[in-house]
Amino acid sequence: MSRIPFPTSPQRRVIAGAALCLVLALAAGVASVNAISLQPPGIEPRQLSVAGAGARVLVDNPRSLVSDRLATEGDYRTLHKRAVLMANLMVTGPVRERIARRAGLSPAKLGTTVRVTGDVAHILTEPDSERRATQLRQAQLPYRLEVHPDPLLPALSIYTQAPTVREAERLADAAAPALREHLRALASLNGAAGATQVVLEQTGLARGDIINAGARLQIFALTAIFVLLLSAAVLVLATRPRRQARRRAAPPAADAAHAPQPRRPPRAPRDGPRPAPAVPLAQRLGLVAASAPAVAGMPAGASAMPSAAIAGASPHRTSAVARPASGLGDWPRTTRLLPWMLAAMMAIVWLVPFNVIQLTYSLPIDLKLDRLVLPFIVAVWALALAAGGAAAPRLRLTWIHLGVAAVVLAALVSLVLQARALNATLELDTSVKKLTLLASYVALFVVVASSIRHTEVPAFMKYTLGLALVCALGTIVEYRFAYNVFYSVSELVLPGMFSVGEAEAGAVDDIGRRVVRGPGEVPLEAVAMLAMGLPIAVVGLIGSAERRRRILYGVAVAIILAAAASTERKSALLAPASVFLTLAYFRRRELLRLAPLGVLIGVMMLLLTPGAAQTVVSQLSGERFNSVTTVSDRTSDYDAVRPDVFTHLMFGRGYGSYEHVTARIIDMELLRTLIEVGAFGLLAYVVMLGTIVAAARRPIRERRPRDSAIALSAAAAAVAWLVVSALFDVMAFPHCPYIGLWMAGLLAVVVSAERDRRQEAGWSS
């Protein structure tokens, strides 16, 4: 039996691997949008197109009121009520059967719904578990008819969905005649005169079109990308033992070949000897030191690399003393663009209500401010990676990366499995948009973890604390003076092509609490942001030996706590409590020693936001806690989402597909994750946060001053993230995931540097 030949050259192995992954991805993509049969062999495009149509029906008296100058408001009120009745009648079984018959369909394939269009609070129209189960059953049907009674006029808007435009139009056109026929039948049964019947007048033939353009491409791309990533990951993991064996067999000196290469690696001359490459541009301009001599086998251009890099160490490990002169010093004393861009991005995240700012131009996608800035950062990162050189990002895999990848994988699995079902219910677009948002979060994490140096992390932590403090002070100002500085300044600073949402500073919610939202979209978002910034201040307080620093950090803690309390949300107590509990788990004695200072911080907090903390605490008293709608809404969700959860328990109904406009507002990220990404996705989400804490444990245990402080802050922020995930839908508000993954990225830098250090120590010993 002959064995499958294994390519021996590394380049051939890469080609073979890439070709295999590509073929698998293409095959899966083709299979997702085509029906492939083996007996007889054939391939046919799947029916994926969805058409929609609309029609308008006026409800009138036999003696028309439309042009009657003696018609009264009472006449129209009565007629309007009759129209709402007609809408509800249209979706009943007998009428549905008539509609289906007229449209040439089987009634079993037609789902009918009437929507509540009156001025009713959304919460009152949210479906309970029984109604949701009906919704889910109807969503699977290929033909749908939705009736919207006009809230002001005696008229109905009819919207239909079908696989083809003609069928959708026929269905919409069948609705009014079918109802008319039903009314006539009812009248004849009851002996009513035809002249007294309500008149249904369709204003024109239904018009329709394909309403899911691009779905075929989306499904193909989703499946192909998923299979490509999965097969590449499997291939890398499967060949890992072989690579490791080869690496063990090779002497350590060979690792010089794996070190980042100079701008132009050695290349065999094609037509005789080639002249030495020109001196790099950066060196010519005098921006890069040109001290190191050319090394054997390397071109002169390699001298632009610091000597440490040439010796086999990473350029990230060049001496801190040599860096500033070369422009490669640590942030903020650096000319490297990426750290500055990341700093700017974090300033936007902390201080700008970017989720309510968007371009006023009409575009196919919602271009929020972060989605305008982040692509530039990712582009510079990708270019720097491709160009190489001393400032190039360095990709290093940590457990946190795997945790984040697990979340992405779960999201992709859920979407790939449900893509066709989501296409039929027109929810695929929403899911793809949410997937893009998830990709933005992950992109920030990857860029941070690969572009920031270990020696820069403390400076960035201080910077983050500074931003958190500005955010907290602005939130306190909003509480005290009913003036949202973040929204107002954004409105003033941004050019006219951006529209900024309303801050509504000074407004109160349904249960009488102030709406203090800081730079967030909702108050809970501000709480989550501040809770993630709090550990940096507390850890700074724990680690401060000098009195002055201790006072400064103490003031910072008080300001952040006061700002959180100023939102008057119960979470303002729970989220910071989770931070303190996490820190207490790792640093019990140190925290206990700070107890007297804690009293001072509490007093200062009360002075900064008088009355806020009391409002928060009073909401937790037994009677009030159970009676407010914010609690009862959340608890009612548990029962109402059962149909969604149990229909797709393992992999969910599709990432980002649960829409609050047709279903419920889910105020809990963990529950939403369970619905959308299933138990697997929920596990991945918890594992992602768990890997942050797990990765932080070693530096925390080893108590190296700089690393342990960063690890403590990141671990506490991750726990706070998990806690707020149980309190609101945190991933829907981008400030929090950006901040959480920023902290995780900084921790990944620390962890990978620590791993490098251990490996170097292992080699040297």
Partner: protein, 252 residues
């Protein structure tokens, strides 16, 4: 600093970068209309628009009478619905002496959503779209008893004629629906027809420049990425050589 590395790569691959100028100039020439082979939307032309507002009223006007005609806004909204019906489309086309197939009616009332959701949003868009040389859009200015006709036609004169025809058709429909001759409503014009000829320009010149710049930037990015891939490729190929050399050195 990263940009210097990128610029260094671009300098080394200057031939490839220079090649990018060809599609860049081509796209600029196409979008700015300097090349005759440009797609159809780039052609500059003119179209006619017209607007006519009418008031739904009693024969003896309700304007000076407090409390009179309180249901007129509702009736105006329903009449706007009826004015966009198929029957009205035929009547308007007949009056304006244009083929009925060339006239499209935009139903603003159907496009108004009362409850959100994927199906109503998309179906409303699908049903609102009109692709015809003559388009009449009818809307009611609730809570006022005013109906507005916005017309688009190949010329301003035709647009004005179409708006007048739409008003006349609505007047006829209102008269036909009146329960009795003395109980009907009347349609009163609010000013005359306002029409104009507006240029249908292609893209503004700045868009052509911006598109060319974006294309060239993307081309340069592609060059840098290609350089990175080639570098990685050579590094993969260099591994066994480096390992063998290191092995020899150790053995020596």
């Amino acid at each position: 600093m990263e940009l210097l590395s990128v610029l260094g790569v671009l300098r080394r691959r200057r031939v490839l970068v220079a090649l990018g100028l060809v599609p860049t100039l081509l796209i600029w020439a196409l979008l700015s209309g300097r090349l005759a082979a440009g797609p159809a939307p780039l052609a500059v032309g003119k179209t006619g628009i017209a607007q006519l507002r009418v008031m739904v009223d009693h024969p003896k006007t309700t304007i000076p009478r407090v409390g009179a005609g309180s249901v007129l806004p509702t009736q105006a909204a329903l009449l706007a619905d009826l004015a966009a019906s198929d029957a009205q489309r035929l009547a308007i086309a007949r009056r304006a002496s244009i083929p009925a197939a060339a006239l499209g009616m935009q139903r603003m009332q159907l496009a108004r959503l009362f409850a959100l959701g994927q199906l109503p949003e998309r179906a409303a868009d699908a049903s609102a779209g009109v692709a015809a040389p003559y388009v009449v859009s009818v809307s009611a200015a609730a809570p006022l008893p005013i109906v507005t006709f916005d017309v688009r036609a190949p010329s301003a004169r035709e647009a004005a004629r179409l708006a007048t025809a739409a008003r006349a058709s609505l007047e006829a429909a209102v008269a036909a629906r009146a329960p009795d001759a003395d109980r009907g409503l009347v349609i009163k014009p609010l000013g005359g027809v306002r029409s104009a000829s507006v240029p249908v320009t292609s893209l503004p010149p700045v868009v052509a420049v911006a598109a060319a710049v974006v294309l060239f930037a993307l081309w340069c990015c592609g060059v840098v990425v290609l350089h990175g891939l080639l570098r990685a490729w050579r590094r993969i190929g260099a591994r066994p050589v480096a390992a063998a050399a290191a092995g020899d050195a150790t053995a020596g």
